[in-house]
């Protein structure tokens, strides 16, 4: 009975009692939710549409195989931001990120992912690839055909900031690879080309989706360097009477990678389903869906014909090419403080 004469101590005791009960109730409910099979996939921005369809397909497959209902929850943000979120405790069961380097960062900075993660799945844990292409206004009014057009004085280029965006790093490396192959290969000339290219960049958005918005909706610039999958998606969304894709003579093989977050799946007891989820990326259905969402599947044979017809075959330099020597070397040489990107802007 509550009366006004309750002593402070009684009131305190009642308060503590309520608090403890609430917390126990919360924990209990949390336990109930956890008992349902859920997998959290921390991914980067351009995969939203792909995973919406892929997750449904996998849930149907898993129900068929095991009789269990599984819910896949998605979290999307910039690739680097997601890596940081996982390091700081986002309880993701799997990560599907834009750069192998971001997954390496999780492994190195938190130990949540085992060091040899790349060898656990086929093709270095990269189930689909993409590349960087140009998106221009319909009719290509500036006649942009290849990388050297991007340093012309009458051309404005839109690309995000390599310091904050994974896509921007691929863009940067693709331009570097072209300049290296076509301008004699001396570092000084290549760097000069890069400086001219970034001299034509009026603003650096923090992420690939931001740059896309600037280019398409705010109509900044003449050419956007973008993920091939994003460029194709944009044409789907905004129409071929607005935009068109130009494929340069040489680009880079971008390998978005997937990995199991070992410590999280062991804590959640989701290792089996999470492993199956990642393996499903390599199944004919997984490959077909990747192709439908404008990624390049590693097994093109599983893609629907109309999807496969979209991809232009051009030489694609890989990150492990001696020119780059893998992500760790690239990071140190180009994007770390004082790297070639900083040199372009002088310090």
């Amino acid at each position: 009975m509550r009366t006004e004469r309750d002593s402070p101590r009684t009131r305190l005791r009642r308060f503590i009692g309520t608090a403890v009960t609430s917390v126990m109730l919360l924990v209990f409910c949390g336990g109930m939710v956890r008992a349902q099979l859920t997998v959290l996939n921390a991914s980067y921005d351009p995969t939203r549409e792909f995973y919406r369809e892929f997750n449904d397909a996998f849930a149907a497959y898993w129900l068929d195989q095991t009789g269990e209902t599984v819910t896949i929850n998605q979290s999307h943000s910039g690739s680097g931001a997601q890596a940081r979120a996982v390091i700081e405790g986002l309880p993701a069961d799997v990560v599907t990120l834009a750069l192998q380097a971001d997954i390496d960062a999780i492994a190195a900075n938190s130990g949540l992912i085992a060091a040899g993660w790349r060898d656990r799945l086929p093709r270095g844990s990269a189930p689909y690839t993409s590349t960087m292409v140009f998106l221009v206004r319909a009719g290509n009014p500036k006649g942009i055909a290849d990388w050297d057009d991007l340093i012309r004085e009458d051309v404005e280029v839109v690309t995000p900031n390599p310091k904050t965006s994974g896509a921007a790093r691929w863009n940067y490396l693709a331009a570097w690879a072209w300049a290296h192959a076509n301008l004699g290969g001396a570092d000084e000339t290549t760097l000069g080309f890069m400086a001219a290219l970034y001299g034509n960049v009026p603003m650096l958005d923090t992420g690939a989706r931001g740059s896309m918005t600037s280019f398409v909706q705010r109509r900044v610039g003449d050419v956007l360097i973008a993920w091939e999958n994003e460029a194709l998606l944009a044409i789907d969304l905004f129409g071929a009477d607005e935009l068109e894709v130009v494929v340069p003579s040489l680009s880079i093989l971008a390998e978005p990678s997937v990995a199991l977050v070992d410590e999280n799946v062991d804590r959640h007891g989701t290792r089996a389903v999470a492993e199956a989820y990642l393996a499903y990326h390599y199944s004919p259905e997984g490959q077909r869906l990747a192709a439908r969402h404008y990624f390049r599947p590693v097994d093109m044979q599983h893609a629907d014909l109309e999807d496969a017809a979209r991809y232009v075959d051009i030489p694609l330099v890989t990150i492990d090419d001696p020119l780059f020597g893998g992500w760790a070397a690239v990071q140190a040489r180009h994007f770390a403080e004082g790297g070639t990107f900083d040199q372009i802007y002088g310090d």
């Binding site: 960049v201 603003m203 958005d205 923090t206 909706q217 705010r218 802007y345 310090d347």
Partner: protein, 279 residues
């Protein structure tokens, strides 16, 4: 000292309880997070901190952030009281609506504001199209940053000055007039001195807000290293590089400069209040 405060029976009831609550709350919400920041940053030697602050790029970004925030706060310091004056002293149709509009920058997600401003001011935008023939570029230049911060900071000045104007009786102006003061004299020697302390408070709030503002600025700034790169963006960049100590160092430097600025302006405000109160 605390216990002395509590034990002495105050005329106001509940001092002990409210004081305790205020201190606990302030500690939980403000002091402990800041303390954690300082502790993590002071893991690094002071020399490193100074080195980070004075490296060209960081120094330029800090200068840009503080300069643009100060510029925007000064603009608001001039425009804000005028708007407040109009809202209090005149009645016109749509006055309530206009009054509510002043608060919009508070309510709008800053990213939305940033995108809207960038679309207005870039070359294809409504304002950008008019300014371009004049050779003025606002979007993706420091001017764009100031525009965003003026937008964000305006309600701070208007809302601090408004109640003070409401307190000023018209009689005061009339009295000044009967004593032979001209309009400029009335404004300069009677009205402004009353408004200055409140306007300064608004100025400080707008300044403080502008220094740390990220969401709205990032879309209109351009983010080109050394030219339009704000200090909060550098913090984000450092975090992206997993350089936690570097990010922390910039954060602490910003914190120290901000604190020094706020303290200075507070002292100035006290001085203004005393001085203008005497005349």
């Amino acid at each position: 000292m605390d216990s002395a405060l509590v034990r002495r029976r105050s005329a106001l009831p509940g001092l002990g309880l409210t004081l305790g609550f205020a201190l606990t709350y302030l500690s939980l919400v403000v002091l402990i997070p800041l303390g954690a920041l300082l502790v993590r940053a002071f893991g690094m030697p002071l020399a490193d901190l100074v080195e980070v602050a004075t490296s060209g790029r960081v120094a330029r970004a800090l200068l840009l952030s503080f300069g643009a925030a100060a510029g925007a706060a000064v603009i608001n310091l001039i425009i804000g009281p005028v708007i407040a004056w109009v809202l209090v002293r005149y009645s016109f149709p749509g006055k309530r609506l206009l009054d509510a509009v002043v608060d919009l920058p508070f309510a709008l997600p800053t990213a939305v504001a940033g995108i809207a401003l960038a679309s207005l001011f870039d070359r294809g935008g409504w304002f950008g199209r008019l300014l371009e023939p004049l050779g003025i570029q606002v979007a993706y230049t420091p001017a764009g940053i100031i525009v965003a911060l003026v937008f964000i900071g305006l309600p701070f000045v208007v809302r601090t000055v408004q109640p003070v104007i409401e307190e000023v009786d018209r009689d005061v102006e009339e009295a000044a007039a009967t004593l032979g003061a001209g309009r400029t004299q009335t404004i300069g020697r009677v009205i402004l001195p009353i408004l200055v302390p409140a306007a300064l408070t608004g100025f400080v709030l707008a300044l403080a807000r502008g220094i740390g503002e990220y969401g709205s600025v990032i879309f209109i700034a351009g983010n080109i290293p050394n030219r339009t790169e704000i200090a909060p963006l550098l913090i984000v960049i450092k975090l992206e590089e997993f350089d936690y100590p570097g990010a922390m160092a910039i954060a602490v430097i910003m914190l120290l400069i901000s604190f020094a600025l706020l303290l200075a302006v507070n002292l100035l405000q006290g001085w203004a209040r005393r001085r203008l109160g005497e005349t």
